[in-house]
Symmetry: C2
Subunit: 425 residues, 2 copies
């Protein structure tokens, strides 16, 4: 029925729907698990990952070798590759998550109705979380840690290239679960290298309560088109910084530099600079001196000020470069800046640098994005930086979660109602 699907634990059925049933069963157990057990499982797993790092590295070396022989590009191989540092950060990540407060059980709201009914909204796990991801094998531990801490079962569907590494990491985590008397099946790695099987996975209606694709636009679009289960999109970040006429221009230089160059390859890096016409002539040449390593692509006004800039196309403004490249546009004011962002933005993170209160307020209100920032770098839009502890991604959709997703976003609220025999008239 389904394509070749082997669970890492060969005792079970090799059918995807069987794996789904086991995951649902485990989710019921996990929902009842004590915080201390969950924390212990994560710490145990962290210890084991360090103790068995040689085995992980060995499996990973084979994955890398195979991918290299198959002609994988350098960045792809880099994402696939593990080393002692990366393994240490997987273990460290699990320990950090163990330390975070457990979101499960919080009474988020509660009120009494005139008829005496006590209505409460209680935080509970989502159930089964499905993760579809690409090369990075550290996602296996990172994503699992967050999902398990929030009381969920997780079904992981990684790439074929990372299968060997993922199998070892998943086995270690399952072992840690069972050593702490939690169900091993709270973590299930779906092993099947075909593209077709992703489709079956994202259509596990009635099993997967929340699907999170982690990867590039190709993966995300495929999942969006094929999925029949509820999902959260962690989309592109085409982020803008708008330097207003009233901005502190030294601050603006610092922030644009940080937003563009501190880590160009991540989604909260800035891709476009919008600068008010009144300050462009002063600001842009200084920016070039500040970040000479960044290639600037600008509109006609920018190119008039910066002879070294290349004329930007429509497509450039819509591109998430993830590189030391930045588009620039000189705008007549706030309205034009907001229009530009509305047109080209991806609803991720948008910043304004200004000293004008009305501009700041209008920017915050009118720019439609997961995060808007005043006088701060877009690079802060991150679970750790916001104080959520850790994140499983940054949602660019509006349903359920918007912006960095921490433990709370891996839960939902259930109505628990206490009566004394009330009936509805």
């Amino acid at each position: 029925m389904y394509a070749k699907l082997v669970c890492m634990d060969d005792n079970g059925s090799n059918q995807l729907d069987q794996l789904g049933k086991r995951s649902k069963q485990a989710a019921q157990e996990m929902a009842k698990a004590a915080t201390l057990s969950k924390n212990e499982a994560l710490s145990t797993a962290a210890d084991a990952i360090l103790a068995l790092s040689d085995e992980i590295l060995e499996a990973n070396a084979l994955d890398v070798e195979r991918a290299g022989a198959a002609g994988a590009v350098r960045t792809s191989l880099d994402r696939l590759m593990l080393n002692e540092n990366r393994i240490a950060s997987m273990a460290g990540g699990l320990r950090e998550v163990a330390k975070l407060p457990d979101p499960v059980g919080e009474i988020a709201k509660g009120w009494q109705r005139p008829n005496g009914l006590l209505v409460t909204k209680v935080r509970v796990p989502l159930g089964v979380i499905g993760i579809v991801y690409e090369n990075r094998p550290n996602v296996t531990a990172d994503a699992a840690g967050l999902c398990l801490k929030a009381g969920n079962a997780v079904m992981l569907r990684g790439s074929s290239a990372a299968l060997g590494s993922n199998k070892v990491i998943a086995r270690i985590l399952r072992q840690a679960l069972s050593e702490t008397r939690l169900p091993q099946d709270a973590l299930i790695l779906v092993e099947d290298p075909t593209r077709e099987s992703v489709k079956d996975f994202v259509q596990l209606s009635g099993v997967i309560d929340c699907l999170i694709p982690r990867g590039g636009a190709g993966l995300v679009n495929m999942v969006r088109a094929e999925a029949t289960v509820p999902l959260i999109i962690d989309g592109d970040g085409n982020c803008h910084v708008y330097v207003d006429a009233s901005a502190d221009l030294d601050m603006a230089l610092e922030i644009v530099d940080n937003a563009k160059t501190s880590r160009p390859s991540v989604c909260n890096a800035a891709e476009t600079l919008l600068v008010h016409k009144d300050v462009a002539t002063y600001f842009l040449p200084r920016l070039v001196s500040r970040i000479p390593q960044v290639e600037l692509l600008g509109d006609a006004k920018t190119c008039a000020i910066l002879p070294g800039a290349v004329l930007a196309t429509e497509k450039d403004y819509a591109t998430e470069f993830l590189d030391l490249k930045m588009t620039v546009a000189v705008v007549n004011g706030l309205d034009e800046a907001i229009e530009h962002i509305t047109r080209y933005g991806t609803g991720h993170s948008e910043a304004i640098i200004t000293n004008d209160l009305v501009s700041a307020e209008r920017f915050c209100r009118e720019v439609d994005a997961a995060a808007v920032l005043v006088n701060a770098s877009t690079r802060f839009v991150d679970g750790g930086e916001f104080g959520l502890g850790a994140e499983i991604g940054i949602s660019t959709q509006k349903l359920h979660a918007r912006g960095p997703m921490g433990l709370e976003e891996l839960t939902c609220l259930k109505y628990v109602v206490h009566g004394q025999g009330q009936v509805r008239t």
Copy 2:
């Protein structure tokens, strides 16, 4: 490109993507709209619906006549039909929504980071909400009222049978919007009778921020399979009442009667009674005397106690009868009751009648549903009864909204971050 799609206002393009652009534009305006303007638009619409009720009834009579001639069944015609009372409740509904507090602008959370960044989560509209619905023309006003009050634009895609009625109601609402200087396009009725066009509608990625299908299982399943936009499922309610050994049995009789018979056709009505073996012999015959009009289908133990009961099949236990019919099972205790609900429930509303604290706590924790109730009727699971004011549906999924969806569920939280020049190190 698209099948025949005519906007009610013929000035615009007749292409669905053009309608989508207009809706997005209107959503930006609506997000900024003052509470007073939104309230005034709803009150103006309520007045106009009453003033123009003859016109609505005339258009509706033609819809009903056409549907009758095409062989529509009685219940379907009943849903389609409007009368003075139903029109009065449309108008009354809009007035009630106008009175509710505006969720937009609430600062749901806020905290300061060690580096001085002030991180807040601010409640904002979702943007464009798409509603796909079936025969009831009153949904046009009811759904639009809630979406608009929460600051959204709404795209409505009703059934071909109700098109005449929907056009008149939509025109009245659009007129009210423009009279209060809000954008008419905040309400767009998509007019196209083909099944194919629903598919185009639910694939308006980049336009629809939240899709809510309102209708039967056929519609919901089609939408789930075809949609590429984020959606909230308002699914079936196969609700259970479990009468525990320790229950106050007079209370249990009241509640089971109310849950089953007060309005059998709605999703929060009970469909199955689970009764503890220790009290079944006493309880079941009394239930039959209490609700003789209800046809009972039971397991072997039930049939042994109630010779008049029919033996229930697997399928019966999985069925939402929406009728004066109820399945019954005698269980050995709480574990078996929870197992039964886990197997057959649809995650809607589940009740326990008990005086045992541990049973109540376990039931609330272990039953996975949008709402669990102790010693109260499942019929309370409703936006109005919970005090949300009004509801656009009851979500049976876990993402974003679970249970009755009021105004708050038609919004989302956006991060607004204030700094003083911070950059990330």
